[in-house]
Symmetry: C2
Subunit: 148 residues, 2 copies
């Protein structure tokens, strides 16, 4: 059994549990997501998908990504006020965002994930997720600058 078969099993189960029909569109969107390690937009998924599924509509992509977000299969990212990005990696992690080129890179910092929040913070309510955004200039942009 390949890793993809494994993933396809997962989506079947998740849809079933949620009372959602596993339509060919949903399956293809899911497969497309599997092939993205990064943070694609709905538009990008739509464009890629249209090559092999010419009749798919952008609306379906948006709807499906929203459903997948609710199921916890992917995660919506509101990083800039341009298009929404979708994180295909749902393991706990954070992001570095280059203010020049807008590149978004994953960050892992398990020690921070484990750290207790201050009393004053946990007193605000029940905290479910923590997401750190680091903003700065990536090495690629720094190098360009030095050369130019």
């Amino acid at each position: 059994m390949t890793s993809q078969d494994n993933e396809l099993d997962k989506i079947r189960k998740l849809c079933d549990q949620a009372g959602m029909k596993l339509t060919p569109q949903r399956l293809e969107i899911f497969k497309e997501l599997l092939s993205h390690e990064d943070h694609p937009s709905a538009e990008l998924i739509f464009t890629k998908l249209r090559e092999r599924l010419p009749t798919i509509s952008l609306d379906t992509v948006y709807r499906t990504l929203a459903s997948f977000d609710e199921l916890g299969i992917i995660k919506k990212l509101n990083i800039s006020n341009a298009r929404t990005l979708f994180d295909t990696n749902i393991e706990q992690h954070h992001h570095f965002i280059c203010t020049k080129c807008k590149r978004v890179e994953d960050i892992h910092w398990p020690d921070f994930d484990k750290a207790n929040l201050p009393e004053s913070v946990s007193a605000l309510g029940s905290i479910q997720t923590r997401h750190l955004e680091l903003h700065g200039i990536c090495n690629q942009c720094l190098n360009k600058k030095n050369k130019g």
Copy 2:
């Protein structure tokens, strides 16, 4: 000299340094911002302002808020993919976002601000700001739930 006079001096200087004319519109937008402790949207500032400056345009509000963001007087927040919010508090801090009522509350966590980032993270580039988003359910919403 009142605290507001002090602030007005600040905006005068900042505009001057940036070669920006201090127009009445900019001054009024700045004053309006001073009266918001929270995270107003451009639309809200516009609506409030229109009561005493009936001819101001939404475009001017957007342009001015963008300029103020560039000058570091306020900070754009991309928290949801609905409207952009503006943070009138530019001291280093973080946010708690209630997933139910969308309330945004400031968080202060100086120990975290001082903490060193892992080697693997600082190696990505030059990191300028860190912003933590905690998502969860605020006490108000938790109480409603328990009562309902």
